[in-house]
Symmetry: D2
Subunit: 386 residues, 4 copies
Amino acid sequence: MAVTPTSAELDRLRIEVPSWAYGNSGTRFRVFGTPGTPRDPFEKVADAAQVHAHTGLAPTVALHIPWDLVDDWGALRRHAEDLGVALGTINSNTFQDDDYKLGSLTHVEPRIRRKAIDHHLQCIDVMRQTGSRDLKVWLADGTNYPGQDSIRERQDRLAESLAEIYAALDDDHRMVLEYKFFEPAFYHTDIPDWGTSYVHCAALGEQAKVVLDTGHHAPGTNIEFIVAQLLRLGKLGAFDFNSRFYADDDLMVGAADPFQLFRIVVELIAGGGYGDPDVQLVLDQCHNIEAKVPGQIRSVLNVQEAVAKALSLDTAALDAARRAGDVLLANEVLMDAYATDVRPLLAEHRASKGLPEDPMRAFLASGYLERIAEERQGGVQAGWGA
Amino acid sequence: MAVTPTSAELDRLRIEVPSWAYGNSGTRFRVFGTPGTPRDPFEKVADAAQVHAHTGLAPTVALHIPWDLVDDWGALRRHAEDLGVALGTINSNTFQDDDYKLGSLTHVEPRIRRKAIDHHLQCIDVMRQTGSRDLKVWLADGTNYPGQDSIRERQDRLAESLAEIYAALDDDHRMVLEYKFFEPAFYHTDIPDWGTSYVHCAALGEQAKVVLDTGHHAPGTNIEFIVAQLLRLGKLGAFDFNSRFYADDDLMVGAADPFQLFRIVVELIAGGGYGDPDVQLVLDQCHNIEAKVPGQIRSVLNVQEAVAKALSLDTAALDAARRAGDVLLANEVLMDAYATDVRPLLAEHRASKGLPEDPMRAFLASGYLERIAEERQGGVQAGWGA
Amino acid sequence: MAVTPTSAELDRLRIEVPSWAYGNSGTRFRVFGTPGTPRDPFEKVADAAQVHAHTGLAPTVALHIPWDLVDDWGALRRHAEDLGVALGTINSNTFQDDDYKLGSLTHVEPRIRRKAIDHHLQCIDVMRQTGSRDLKVWLADGTNYPGQDSIRERQDRLAESLAEIYAALDDDHRMVLEYKFFEPAFYHTDIPDWGTSYVHCAALGEQAKVVLDTGHHAPGTNIEFIVAQLLRLGKLGAFDFNSRFYADDDLMVGAADPFQLFRIVVELIAGGGYGDPDVQLVLDQCHNIEAKVPGQIRSVLNVQEAVAKALSLDTAALDAARRAGDVLLANEVLMDAYATDVRPLLAEHRASKGLPEDPMRAFLASGYLERIAEERQGGVQAGWGA
Amino acid sequence: MAVTPTSAELDRLRIEVPSWAYGNSGTRFRVFGTPGTPRDPFEKVADAAQVHAHTGLAPTVALHIPWDLVDDWGALRRHAEDLGVALGTINSNTFQDDDYKLGSLTHVEPRIRRKAIDHHLQCIDVMRQTGSRDLKVWLADGTNYPGQDSIRERQDRLAESLAEIYAALDDDHRMVLEYKFFEPAFYHTDIPDWGTSYVHCAALGEQAKVVLDTGHHAPGTNIEFIVAQLLRLGKLGAFDFNSRFYADDDLMVGAADPFQLFRIVVELIAGGGYGDPDVQLVLDQCHNIEAKVPGQIRSVLNVQEAVAKALSLDTAALDAARRAGDVLLANEVLMDAYATDVRPLLAEHRASKGLPEDPMRAFLASGYLERIAEERQGGVQAGWGA
């Protein structure tokens, strides 16, 4: 029953890739290094550009401040443009300074809240230089022990801090506010769920939107429901894509539960969010043990396959089955789209755009990995600096 | 460091008990009957009155429509008053009619939504007769299979249905809207989390509030955070108390994780919700294998102990430790209140009110259970009618 | 890279269907009835035979005692054979008698353990009449409240009870022992995990094997690991197939996470369990809202598709990638098999066996559902009798 | 109904503390340092000795190889003895070398398995020098992606590797084998549950026992059941104590769910494991944000309080209630022990042994923290070296 997506529909897919995915990441037990790992933002952007060059899907690169601070933003911007990509979302970081041990925007001490707010004002300044639209705020804030701090007062301080940052945005800026179930805080997290992010965004105004990271939910959470709800409320600003079996595992998107990714994309399309620049699709993953650039290529391809399957859905048949209350048929119509092997269609689509039919094989054959392993000797490999 | 709660503080505790806890309940595998189980609402109210008579904590009884429909509401009301209690919240039920197999207020068919709305209008009518303030809406609505129905359209239909019911409320009525993670729907639930209940209540207006059932969350959810957040937003209308190890186990409140119950009450007090009639405390449990009236007595006593411990908290010391950033001390101050054995204080408090020091022993010695087992022969024992 | 399964490989698939799936089932909130629901074991077997007639995959029917007790076992056996199927596993039931409220084989009272053991001896007697090989033991035993009973003593009583039942088995009989994380017990379950089932089976002897029900695990459990481990230990006796998003939802197998089902089958094949009559594949599901016979057809087809995908795996390429430590390539080889659309192959395979290419459409067009809805008037529809 | 534990019963408590708890630890996001953090094993042992000096509960210190490698084991041993403690369990480490990126004892390459086995043989050598009895094996081994490696073959390689290590043990040595649900592996872990650890230990022999880390289970797992089962099987070798709300949070034991800790100790006592030197109690925690030595003191006190409560249990009353099938009474007897405030009793007990009544206040008043902050300038603070 599946229908065939048009080329125009497939063309609307845009995925932002994160600069930090090309640096080293790991667990608290170990961060493994790899030959060729970038040592600065310029090399990260170069790696990111490879993903776009081979897939045509990843035209922008998200930056993380201070990890990606450079002296000359114009140079980084031109570097990106020369490589065929653009700079994207600016991510703030208030979890790697000793001052933030017990919180940042929610901290009980005004001095530390001030510092954290100022960091965000600095990020907004960077946005003006990079031409970025979105300031992404993910907070590690929370507590580890019952009683440690006042849950309620931290909410009030959070609201106050966010309001000051929001007021500093330009008119064409957005603040996108991420929630996370737990980690690195292990008792309570100050923005633990979509509801909390939503009520803060609603209080801030139109330029504030919720970020849904697919790895940031309690076990069993129906993520596509949240997608549908936030689209309905006009408050879904961005996705952070990755996948998980347990906690915030940060595996490649689609690796753990490809059917879930498909269902998420189905709701994204149904709610009008697909292809809407106001609903940004971003990767946020950790390639702890797998090769990084190939890991990113696999990830954008996984999203593309999910999109192609979701676009194959026979929505008229689905609607009819739903109206008839035919549970099995409605499920079958959905599964029919999911069961469709869209890879031949996508290979053809790529060829029609002058892209390699098999981006992974093409990239591996390009010699890029060998080249960077040889060229990037010395220096300090980029990482989270934990 | 713990402080001693005053009698006046302890006196502010009021817990509503549910009529259906005195009838039979069970699992999908088996509902076990017990001698003496009530056969009608009058007998349920009589059992409920025993809880209040022995504890002084449970002055009102929640009713469930249609389970508790009677011909003469005045008679039921007077019956309750004669026994020292009053009728409380009216609970609607749209999960036990064949028409509701695929939904009620969210159903794709207008006819069935109409029927479900009308049922709620009938409940509002009952409220006028019972003198109840609150209409509690818990929906079993959801789907079992991906694709079965449109998540998004069901939200829109839900909003529309709720709006019609809300419009029918009297000025002194409230609609309290419950959320639940899953069950009986196993793929998606139409009101699965506090965020969804909140956005509907916010859209409806001041008379709509969220109900937090302590058993209705994903594993690991920090429930006291939600308490703090909803109190901050002015939208916490009521609790449904029970406890759980796994899913919605509906065990006696405080049985599975007494420390969690304590933390919940701490946030309730901190946020100004304790003793506030606008934040109703209600039991909602299933005494599948334990004796029912004693199970209810144990439950209200568990809440009372948690309240007494929470009132023992040295909030000045806690605040000082928090301001100093002393994680261990702040935690210790909280644990100190929790570790306090409040049972002697509560026994004394009860004695001062003319109540039995040990309500459980007093009730068991009263012969009530033996009397109802003998008197309530014949007829059909009340239950969920699943 | 995927390879094409041979017809002979596909032919090794056999799935046992459960008699109780054709009767009514539901949740504690409601059991919805359907026109045409069987009223006795003969009608259940007739429905089950439809599944086999249209798919060629379900040659045996599991029975549940006492639900399926009949006076004349020879008649039921011949009835089944006339319809092209055979009677299969005998399931005991010690959860629906008032005596079992606090346990059965683990009960503190010898009288009740005796009764539960005797029930199993009766089941073994039935096996002799039905020609069944397997006695399946799933226990609802457990406790709801900490302290309620001794976890340790219940283990010892369980071991003793099982030993007596095991001793009564004929040489060609097996006892297959199921574990379950929780429900209907909500604090502790006496056989909660594979480890517990395994240690009892190991103590009993060669004729005792573990049953893995795919819905009976904690959130996040890697089920294919357990499959691999039990096959390695020679102790995997049977599967109970179904699927879940939350708890023991008992949805159609493959509905919630088709990729997980695929991974399970991959391990089944890798460990030599596929096609081995000693590793029985059985459905155990509840069609609460969907049509029952079609629900069973969909389920066996879901398993067949997972098997065909798993048989498509290029194991040589996989092995090479693993030996090279190429994480992404090994994953890609696996995903390649999963992404393959095996439906055309299976349609062809069916046609070659004289089966309908699309079993679901063929069944729906057969008029069977309409016929039973008309014929099966009056009487009491079969169900769990909760 | 609670009874009063005797001094002799309380005296049987011994808790081993881990050297690495005094060094820095954190999350993948950040490791926060603290003034005074030890820079070598001698300073770690000195800190550990403070815990014992103030509580009398922690007479031994576990070491981690290679973190705690020293040139002169005799010197470290004497250093410990001078401070009133002894060296305890030796922990191996096969997760911080680049070679172990894809596994250690389970690795597909024989060379890396050899290296990992040799590391354990080195650890056994250390045991001979430190006089340790236990070799604790926790493996980070597992995979992140489906297909990455063969689950089954890794089990076989694991069994082979463990057998070689086991064969090298002296007669008075033990191998204690830990399991963990997930992390740092995010798809499958090679020893994910007690069942897997048990089957390997059973195959190895009498000197192999299971380690139960209280933070290493799936959500909702009934840990006290596993305690009871392993004691029954004679295979519980040691505990790693900590607590958690979400994943392996490694919070202070008793901090997240003190009632669970109590239930665990109740089963430990009931099964004869309390005070048995063959069931070792060890802390394994991360003091990410709280002070480390005080965090350890709080932890051993939390265990002591749980033990005192569990020893307060009126087992005769409990047994009678269980035999009578009185669910509520049995639960009440247990809760009565839990509700008892044992702190006065423990203060008295400490005083009778010449220990400070309030170990935490005594330690904080001792000036030790100020002294080490001043003395331990320069050098590299100990940590996990991730």
